[in-house]
Amino acid sequence: MVPLRFRPVPGLLLALTVVAELAAVPLSWGLEPAWDTLLLAVSSAVTTAAGALILSRHPRHVIGWLLIVQGLVAALAGDLAQGWGLRAATQGWPVGPPAEFVATGSWLPTAPLAVAVLLLFPTGNLLYRRWSLVLGLSVIGALMAEPGWVLNPEAGSEYVAGHNPYAVDWLPTDELFVGGFTIVAVSLLAGLLAVVIRFRTSSPVEQLQLKWFALASGALAVGLPLAGALWWVTPVVHVIPALVITIWPIAICVAILHYRLYDVDLVISRTFTYATLTVLLAAVYAGAVVVLGAVTGRESVWVTAGATLLAAAVFRLAHRRVQDVVDRRFRRQRHDALELVIGFVDDLRHDRAEPEQVVDSIRAAMRNPGLELRFVLLPDGPPVDERGRPVADADPDRERVPVRRGGMTLGEVVWSPGSDTDRALLPSVLDAASIAIEMARLRVELRQRLVEVDESRARIAAVADDERRRLERDLHDGAQQRLVSIGLALRHAQHELAGHPEAARRTLDGAVVEISAAIEELRALAHGLRPALLQAGLGPALRELASRSPVPVVVSATSDRFPPDVEAAAYFVACEGLTNAVKHARADQVRVDVAHRDSTLVVSVADDGVGGAGVGHGTGLTGLSDRVAARGGQFLIVSVRGRGTTLRAELPCVS
């Protein structure tokens, strides 16, 4: 942050204010209540300092100058002149009454200044040119009311002497004051209205600034009438005007320079909650004291204790409700955001929305259209979007917030928050949406599984197609050709029978040999489809397979029988496993186990070879995995380098 340094002119004026107040305090000391002297001195100094601070950061900001003028007028014309007037009256110093005259009239010029601040905050420019009419109106009002006040005989109470030495009777002072003051009051109200209008049309940043301003203006609006109403009831309220007047410039300064520093919504909400609670509890306490006092007939410790207990009970009950109501009113963004997400979850529950729309809901709640929601399907897996597609790495400039539920990471939000308020709000919104996020994540996962199943099915179909084509070709080129040539041989023999019966015999012998060959060919073809030995069961078929293997194979198989397609699948797992062990694993021994567990056929092929096999490393294993998956089974490969390979298929079977 840039260190603060006052600019020359504002710094000089601030010094002037401080010097004036330092002079005013001893002058007034003891001649008026001490809090009046001190608090108003602080108030003036704070006001000028706030203006100077604003100008140090924004040299042309008109509100900075307005605050400086306001603080300066209060210090010089208000406090210093008043102090001089008071002290002059007791010490017999000169120009006492003129100083009192200046002090008397010093408060009215601050009204147009306040109106100007209302109209210009926070940008320093009028939102509409017409608003200058309001400013003009307040100046006219102040110019009318000023002589009506300072020249009015009624203003005598402001003088030590008890009467106004400047009072005149040739002016309708009462009428001027009342008329002018009314105009000033109207222009102040118009100024407040301008703040409301500006709030509705302004950007989120300006809205934040205006909220700070509204907080202080609200304190002013509540504090001043309250002090007026209770002025004669308790002297405690006398400090309120000075306090709220001091808060105002501070709030303006914070709003212009440091609006991001605190969560203004939270400050406003808490302020209102506790203000409301205080009033409520005071009323309950007072009511209880009156009622209990009337019932017991006397004031006692018991009455106080009872009233205190009651107030405490009411506090417990009322706190949440008041907080809710206030949140709804004043932490609008948070309330709206949560309401939107909760509404969405409700829609989801009633089937009016799809879980995938949760990201739109979060975007709307956060008012951040660029916000992205990414799902994590596997721990440490790559993030995917709502369609299950992998997404590119997040822009490093954007913030990433993990989304968790029940200790599990569901995904992350990638976004560029507009402010700290947004940043603070996101966890609550994600929390409210977490069930929808989890549903969306599960659906993404499910869809991805289905895609995998589809792909596997397509591969199976392709394999089956290839198989069919190969078979068709084998039949055409093999058996069919042979049968045609046998037919030709028979025709030839027919021809030969007429002249060379001996030759016909030889031709027929040849044809018979051909028929044997055709039968052998067909048998081999059929064997490729389904091993004949499987008819005797998996055990005999596997032992026959093992006997042809160049690597020693130990077979242990259940004698239970299973549906043919399950047995065939198990057989092919064993075949592929053996082929793999012989071809790639360089194994010394292989174990083939077939077991019947519950309603599952478990076949495993374990070798002691080099390991390192996996689905996708060789199409053979992928094909096998598909074949098993097609029967609703599970296929597993455990293959660690140097520790052998174990294939394991679990095939569901109802037998």
Partner: protein, 216 residues
């Protein structure tokens, strides 16, 4: 007639050769692949070439390629392509040319008919396997073939196989004049221009059938 046989399977090759010899023809050569066939025909110019569609090196359509080359260079040589199964695309593609035939291999067992077809092709006629023609003539609803009577459809099929009016008359046991009347009816109903006998008529018929079935 002088016949050359191109077939990669020895047994079948020998069987085919014996068939032609038994039928009183001269087998001037037997070869095992398309290249050797083209080379031989270029040198000797036989009357007829009998060629298997699938031969080395790729076992796909070497026979058709060789047949096309031969027909391009020696239009006078009859070419009879034998196939294990029906591939309509190749068949209809080539059968429009004079002296070309396309038959399934099993037809060879009907010796007399096969030899007659072979002679017809060698003499410049056409021959298309009845199975192929049948798939073309099979009536799909709404097709123009609906307008033909049963008898006219069988005449159309035989025309598609490349038969002459005389052949059709013999096959259907009809008088030639009746066949002529049927042929006129068919051509009229299908709006096929009259184009005389032989392969031109086959061509016209097949062209029409091809538009009926919308394959290319």
């Amino acid at each position: 007639m002088r016949v050359v046989i191109a077939e990669d399977q020895v047994l079948l090759r020998e069987g085919l050769a014996r068939l032609f010899v038994d039928g009183g023809h001269e087998v001037v050569a037997t070869v095992g692949d398309g290249e050797a066939l083209v080379e031989f025909v270029h040198r000797e110019t036989p009357d007829l070439v009998v060629v298997d569609i699938r031969m080395p090196p790729t076992y796909t359509d070497e026979g058709v390629l060789a047949a096309r080359t031969i027909k391009d260079r020696h239009p006078g040589v009859g070419v009879l392509v034998l196939s294990q199964h029906i591939e309509t695309t190749h068949a209809v593609d080539l059968v429009g040319r004079a002296g070309f035939g396309y038959m399934l291999k099993d037809r060879v067992l009907e010796v007399e008919e096969f030899l007659a077809t072979a002679s017809r092709v060698a003499a410049g006629g056409s021959a298309l396997d009845p199975t192929v023609v049948q798939t073309l003539v099979d009536v799909t609803s709404g097709s123009p073939l609906d307008r033909l009577t049963e008898r006219e459809r069988s005449v159309l099929a035989l025309m598609g196989e490349g038969m002459t009016n005389t052949g059709i008359a013999q096959r259907l046991v009809l008088s030639e004049r009746t066949v002529e009347a049927h042929v006129r009816q068919v051509l009229l109903k299908l709006d096929i221009p009259e184009s005389g006998e032989g392969n031109r008529r086959v061509l016209a018929v097949l062209a029409h059938l091809r538009t009926v079935h919308t394959w290319s």
